[in-house]
Amino acid sequence: MATGTLNNQGLKRVRMRLITAVIVVFTLTCSGSFGMEDVVSSSGPGFTLLMIVILPFLWSVPMAFVASELASSIPEAGGLYRWIRRGLGEYWSFQGGWWWTLSLYVDSAVYVALALDYLQGYYEFSDLTRALIGIGVVAVFTFINIRGLDLTGWALTLIQIGVMVPLVVFTVLGLIRGTGDPFHPVFSGDGIWTSLTLGLAIMMWMYAGWESMSTLAGEIENPQRIIPRALMIGTPLVIITYVFTVAAAIMVAGDGGWANMWTGGGGIDFVEAAKIVGGATLGYFMLLSAVLSNLGLYAGYLATGARPAFQMSRDRLFPRFIGKTHKSWGTPWVAILIMGVVDGVLINFNFDALITIDVFLLMFAYILIFVTVIVLRNREPDMVRPFKVPLPTWALTIYVAIPIGIAIIALFINGIDWLIGGLIGILTGPVAYLIFKSVYKGTADEALEGSAVTPTGELTDFGAEVEGARL
């Protein structure tokens, strides 16, 4: 398939280099270590570093593996939504797509709000200025996303350079000049259970996002090869980034300083730690890094968050206009624009109540993904899988049971507001399905648009005969 041709959904596939794909994965799953400060003071320095090393193998590596296998065998726009459809049917795919999209709509707005908080805290501009800057930021990234994944990839590359250069300089200086012991004490003082519950929720958040890039599969050349490779390279990269940057920050905080590490002002966060070890100049660049980190996350999640809604529209489970593609740029511009507008509104209001649905919905979507991979292993053992988790199905079942267990625990340890908000959010899924299915009817499996992997590992389009599809 040549670069620039429109596939049967009107999407244009761009040639994404592996390095760019790795940067996209890195952005979606890490984008710097900002936020880890809260884990250190909650769980203790030693236990934080222990969780950074161990948790990925119980939480994010399983998801990275599963996402790689499913993305390689079902490389379709909308990613996880279409995986679940293949494995569990239309109802559950709608639920997964709905919960994930709802979560991402709120989640992505948080990143812009955080970036604005950093800037406002430093420059002390008015709320009106904050609102205007926020809308401007959302508008710019919305345009970049509508323009196409190639431009988005470039933007994320530049952003990650801006994020990582100050972090690397800080880490080197911190490891050399820092005086604190990064492993002492192990726990924060209240024992292992308290340390675990306080830090786990944030840590799970820091290690989430491995499934996200799959939603872009319809707009990348050879997604069945690129996405799994990017995930396999990105996983150790993220772990290494967290380990060294957090260790450096603890050392810079000094003896006992870890207890004062938190974000949101007054504590030792990465910006303050950078000032301590590198003076005002490094502190300024670290502030820039923090702002860019959040903007990168926003740009990344704006890209990935809009695609399931697009695909659900193409599958006639959402209003049809959301499934429109740009005639020249081959992007789902309406879906992206809607998400941009929602974010532009959200960032100017206090949406704390909405954030409470976030974790719950995402965890339920994750559970559906893990169940899907096991169902497909059993029901379609001969499905073409260019990447296959190197475990037999029974062992994979045991392995994914661990993150499912962690996800269930997470539902109850984030706080009561999150539990209630999440319970409400979950119930929106069935109601939304009943409404949209009644109105738009859905699409039969045999009439779906999309792509498939041939036995030789090549990509092919199907479903071109569906009304409205273009070749």
């Binding site: 279409r82 239309e90 119930l427 699409t443 499996d445 009439a447 479903g463």
Partner: protein, 152 residues
């Protein structure tokens, strides 16, 4: 499984969700007559706006939704689900007066409500003929499995 069976399950779950909410409200009132938040709408405890009141009133709405589900599963299950959401929001949106014991009473109604929504969704999936083909089993194989005829 036939759509009619899913419809029955949805309706039964909806009715049971409502009944469990009502039972929870009556039990709460029995063990603690002034179960709820004193002074929520005024200085005195008020039955109508208390935890008891919300459980029973919303439970009645859920029972009605469940009964309607026998005939119109989508409408009925939506009523049950929205009612449960309102009930949970009532627990949630109490500011500093949020009252956690009320949440425990919503556990059974929430699970039954979710099941009602799932069964109603399956029933709808069975009944509605999708674009491009006949209705497929809701829990069956689905998703872009290409056939040779469809592959380019």
């Amino acid at each position: 499984m036939k759509a009619s069976r899913f419809t029955r399950y949805a309706a039964m779950c909806g009715v049971l969700a409502g009944l469990s909410a009502i039972a929870g409200g009556l039990y709460a009132h029995a063990v603690q007559p002034e179960f709820g938040i004193p002074g929520f709408f005024g200085a005195q405890w008020d039955l109508a706006f208390s935890g008891v009141g919300s459980l029973i009133a919303i439970g009645v709405v859920m029972v009605v939704g469940g009964v309607l589900s026998f005939k119109w599963p989508s409408v009925g299950a939506s009523i049950v689900s929205v009612a449960a959401m309102v009930g949970l929001a009532y627990v949630f949106d109490r500011g500093q007066y949020r009252w956690l014991p009320l949440l425990y009473y919503w556990a059974a109604p929430w699970i039954l409500t979710w099941l009602a929504g799932i069964f109603a969704g399956y029933a709808l999936h069975e009944r509605v003929e999708p674009y491009g083909g006949e209705a497929a089993p809701a829990g069956g194989q689905a998703g872009g499995q290409p056939t040779a005829a469809r592959m380019d």
